[in-house]
C-alpha cells in the first residue's frame, strides 16, 4: 500500500474506530470497572432477591424464547397461504410488534391489574367469579410477563420465518410431493430441515435479546409481588436507582456474562455464511 493510500485508509478507519471506542469499548470497560469488586458479587448472592431472580430469568428466557419461536414458525406456514383474508390478517397480527412496547405492556398491565382489570372484570361479568390477583402470585406474575412478551415479539419472528419460507424453491416441495411428503410430512422433511440453521440462529439472537429484556417485566408485573418476578435487567435497575447502588446494579447484569459469552461464540460460528442452508 502506498503512503497516500495508507493515509486515506487511516482517515476512513479512524472515525469508525473512534465511534466504536466511544460507544462500545468505553461503556463496556466502564461497566466492568464499576462491577469489578468481588465483594459486590458476595452482596448479590446474599441478597434475598438475587437467586430467585436468576431462576426467573432462566424461566422467562427459556419459555419466552422457545414458545415464541415455535409458534412463530408454525404461524409463518399459515401466513404463506395466498388467500386475501390471510394477507389482511397478517397486517393485524403484526400490530403488537409495530406498536411501542410501552403501550402494549401497559395495556397488559391494566388488563390484569386485579379487581379493576379487564380480565377479572370479564370473568366477573360473564361467569360471576372473582379472578385471581395476577400480580400477587409469583408464577401468575411471571406467566403474565411471558405471555405479554410472546404476544409482543412473536409477530416479528413470524415475519422472519415467513420471509425464509418464501426463499425455499417450489420445486423441492413438488419433488417431495411426488415422493409422498405432503402436509405435516412436508414440514418435517422439507421445511424444517431447510430452516433449521436459521431457526437456531434466531433462537440464539432472541436469547441474547431476551436476557436483557427490561420493558416487559418492568411494565407488566413491575417485578412484584415483593420482587418475586424480577429478572436480571429489572433487578439491576432497582439496585441502581431504587436502592441507590449503581455498582450493584451493573454487577447484577454482568453476572449474566457467563451465559451470554458462550451464546455469542456459538452464534458467531453458526452465522458463518458457508453454513447457511438457504
Amino acid at each position: 500500500m502506498h503512503g497516500s493510500d495508507f493515509a486515506w485508509s487511516v482517515a476512513f478507519a479512524v472515525p469508525y474506530a473512534a465511534v466504536f471506542c466511544a460507544f462500545v469499548v468505553y461503556p463496556i470497560a466502564y461497566a466492568l470497572w464499576i462491577a469489578a469488586r468481588p465483594s459486590l458479587y458476595a452482596d448479590l448472592i446474599a441478597d434475598r432477591l438475587y437467586l430467585p431472580t436468576v431462576v426467573n430469568t432462566l424461566v422467562f428466557v427459556g419459555l419466552g424464547v422457545n414458545v415464541k419461536m415455535f409458534l412463530a414458525l408454525l404461524l409463518s406456514g399459515f401466513f404463506m397461504r395466498r388467500r386475501w383474508w390471510i394477507k389482511a390478517l397478517l397486517g393485524i397480527y403484526i400490530l403488537p410488534w409495530v406498536l411501542a412496547a410501552v403501550q402494549t405492556c401497559i395495556s397488559f398491565h391494566w388488563m390484569l391489574i386485579g379487581e379493576q382489570g379487564l380480565v377479572d372484570g370479564l370473568l366477573a361479568a360473564l361467569f360471576g367469579i372473582d379472578g385471581p390477583i395476577w400480580f400477587n402470585n409469583r408464577w401468575l406474575g411471571l406467566g403474565s410477563n411471558i405471555v405479554a412478551y410472546v404476544w409482543k415479539w412473536m409477530p416479528f419472528w413470524t415475519v422472519i420465518f415467513l420471509a425464509a419460507r418464501m426463499t425455499i424453491p417450489r420445486d423441492i416441495y413438488e419433488a417431495a410431493e411426488i415422493d409422498g411428503a405432503t402436509g405435516p410430512r412436508s414440514f418435517v422433511h422439507v421445511t424444517f430441515p431447510m430452516l433449521a440453521n436459521l431457526y437456531l440462529i434466531c433462537i440464539l439472537v432472541s436469547t441474547l435479546w431476551t436476557l436483557g429484556e427490561f420493558t416487559t417485566v418492568y411494565l407488566v408485573s413491575g417485578g412484584g409481588p415483593a420482587g418475586s418476578t424480577e429478572v436480571l435487567a429489572t433487578l439491576g435497575f432497582r439496585y441502581a436507582f431504587d436502592a441507590n447502588r449503581p455498582e450493584l446494579g451493573i454487577a447484577a447484569v454482568m453476572s449474566a456474562l457467563p451465559v451470554l459469552i458462550p451464546i455469542v461464540i456459538v452464534l458467531m460460528r453458526r452465522a458463518q455464511a458457508s453454513e447457511v442452508q438457504l
Partner: protein, 458 residues
C-alpha cells in the same frame, strides 16, 4: 465564487483565532454566572409555573442565569444517581429520593451549605434543620448539606360520602390509633353489605418498591412508641424492648388488616401513585399520604375536593399525640458542581420567606413551608375556606414532629432503600410468616446495615 488558496486559508484561520480570543472572556463570564439546576416536576402544573416564575425573578434580580430542567420524580432520581456516579453533575438538584442527602453527605459528595442555611436559620423549624444536618464520614462531622424549603407530614385523607353512606358521621371516628383505623373496617363491612363489592376500608401502601410504604412503616413504628429506633446521635436502639415491641406491632397491624381483606389485595404491588389512584377511584375509603397531593390533584373538581376530609394522625393507643415524621425537600449542591457560587446564591434567594411563600402558594400549597413564620404572616395558609390546608398546617408545622430517621444515620436510608420492613410485611402477607419471626429476620438485617455506618461520637 471565491477561490480557496493557501493564503486565503491562512488569513481566515488567523481571523477565526482572533475572534475566538476576543470572544473567550465573554463566554467564560457567561459560564461563571450560569448555574445548572435540576428540578422535580410538580404534581400540579401550577407548581412548575411557580418555579419558572421564581427563576425568572431571580435572573432579573441577580443578572445570573439558571439553566434548569424539570423532570418527573422517577426519571429525575435516575438522572441524579447517574450523574453522581459518573461525576458529571449539575450545580444543584433536590433530594430526590429524599434520603440521598444522608447517603451522599456520608460519602462526602455534597458541598457544605451551612452558609446558605445560616441566612435564614432562625426562620426554619428545628425539625427541618435536623433533616439536613447530616454526617460526613470523611470529615467525621455533621453539618448542613441541604437547604430545606418545604416539609411534608403524613395525613389521613377520607371520603366523607363513603363514611356517611355506611351510616356513620365523621365525628364517630375514634381518636386513638388502632380504634381509628379499625373504624374503617366497619365502614367497609357496611358498604359491602350495600352491594359495593370492590370497596376497601384502608388504603395502606404495602409495596416493596416505593417511598410511601417506608413512610407508612415509620408512621406506625412511631405511633406504637418506636420513635427512638435511631436517636439523633445516629445510634440504633433495637436492643430497647420498647422499640422492638413497637416494630413488631408495626409489622402486625397493617398485615393483619391486609390478610383480613380490609386493604386492596393489589396494594402489595402499588407504586407511589397507586394509592392516590385507588382513592380517587373510591376503591378505598381512606388513604395516608405525606402531602396534600391527593387533594391538589383534583382541586378543579370542586365537589370531590370538598368531599375529602383531611385529618391529622390519630393519638397513640394510650391517648398521647403521635409525633409525625417530618421530611424536607431541600436543595443540594454536589461536589464537582462548576458554579457553586451561583447555586448558593439561588438557594439564598429561594429561601427568603416572601419568595418561598410565593413559590409554595402558587404551587397550591401541596407542601408546607419549612418556616412557621410564613404561615403566621400570610392568612392564606390558615384560611378556613379551604377544607384541607388548615389541618395540614396544624399537623405538619405546629404539631409534634420528628426528623426522618435516616438523617440521624444514613444506615436507615439503606434500610428504606432495601425495604427491610416491607419485605417483612410481604413475608407475613404472602408467605404466612408469623410477625415475630419476620421481625427477628428484619432486626438482623437492620443491625447488619447499621454496622456498616458507624458514627463517631464526641
Amino acid at each position: 465564487m471565491t477561490t480557496l488558496t493557501r493564503r486565503s486559508l491562512l488569513r481566515s484561520s488567523l481571523a477565526l483565532t482572533a475572534v475566538g480570543a476576543i470572544a473567550r472572556p465573554y463566554v467564560a463570564n457567561a459560564a461563571a454566572t450560569t448555574a445548572t439546576v435540576w428540578w422535580v416536576q410538580g404534581f400540579a402544573q401550577e407548581e412548575d409555573v411557580a418555579f419558572k416564575k421564581i427563576v425568572a425573578d431571580y435572573e432579573k434580580a441577580s443578572g445570573n442565569t439558571i439553566d434548569y430542567s424539570i423532570a418527573p420524580y422517577a426519571p429525575m432520581r435516575q438522572k441524579i444517581v447517574s450523574a453522581v456516579t459518573g461525576g458529571v453533575v449539575p450545580d444543584m438538584f433536590q433530594n430526590t429520593p429524599a434520603e440521598i442527602i444522608a447517603l451522599y453527605a456520608w460519602d462526602d459528595k455534597l458541598v457544605d451549605v451551612s452558609d446558605v442555611v445560616e441566612t435564614q436559620r432562625e426562620e426554619f423549624t428545628e425539625t427541618a434543620l435536623l433533616t439536613v444536618r447530616c454526617y460526613n464520614n470523611v470529615e467525621k462531622k455533621r453539618s448542613f448539606y441541604g437547604v430545606p424549603y418545604t416539609v411534608g407530614a403524613s395525613m389521613n385523607h377520607i371520603w366523607r360520602p363513603l363514611v356517611e353512606k355506611a351510616g356513620y358521621q365523621m365525628s364517630d371516628i375514634p381518636k386513638t390509633w388502632d380504634p381509628y383505623y379499625d373504624f374503617f373496617k366497619d365502614v367497609q363491612k357496611k358498604l359491602r353489605a350495600q352491594g359495593m363489592r370492590n370497596v376497601y376500608g384502608l388504603g395502606f401502601q404495602m409495596n416493596t418498591a416505593g417511598n410511601d410504604s417506608n413512610a407508612r412503616a415509620n408512621d406506625f413504628l412511631i405511633a406504637y412508641g418506636g420513635e427512638d429506633i435511631v436517636t439523633k446521635d445516629g445510634k440504633l436502639h433495637l436492643d430497647d424492648p420498647k422499640v422492638r415491641k413497637a416494630a413488631i406491632e408495626m409489622l402486625t397491624y397493617p398485615t393483619t388488616a391486609y390478610k383480613e381483606g380490609f386493604v386492596p389485595p393489589g396494594a402489595i404491588n402499588w407504586n407511589d401513585a397507586d394509592d392516590n389512584n385507588a382513592f380517587h377511584a373510591k376503591q378505598i375509603v381512606m388513604d395516608i399520604e405525606r402531602s396534600l397531593s391527593t387533594e391538589v390533584a383534583i382541586i378543579k373538581n370542586e365537589q370531590d375536593y370538598n368531599d375529602i376530609v383531611t385529618m391529622g394522625l390519630p393519638l397513640s393507643n394510650d391517648g398521647k399525640p403521635v409525633p409525625v415524621e417530618q421530611g424536607s425537600l431541600c436543595g443540594l449542591i454536589p461536589k464537582g458542581a462548576k458554579n457553586v457560587a451561583v447555586a448558593k446564591d439561588f438557594l439564598r434567594y429561594l429561601i427568603q420567606p416572601q419568595i418561598l411563600n410565593e413559590l409554595l402558594k402558587t404551587g397550591l400549597g401541596r407542601n408546607l413551608p419549612a418556616m412557621p413564620a410564613i404561615v403566621k404572616n400570610d392568612p392564606w395558609w390558615l384560611d378556613p375556606k379551604d377544607p384541607h390546608r388548615v389541618t395540614y398546617v396544624r399537623q405538619g408545622l405546629f404539631g409534634p414532629t420528628v426528623p426522618t430517621f435516616w438523617t440521624s444515620n444514613p444506615a436507615y436510608a439503606q434500610v428504606q432503600n432495601e425495604h427491610v420492613w416491607q419485605t417483612a410485611w410481604a413475608e407475613i402477607m404472602k408467605d404466612g410468616a408469623a410477625p415475630q419471626v419476620a421481625a427477628e429476620k428484619a432486626f438482623k438485617r437492620v443491625e447488619e446495615i447499621f454496622a456498616k455506618y458507624p458514627i463517631a461520637q464526641g
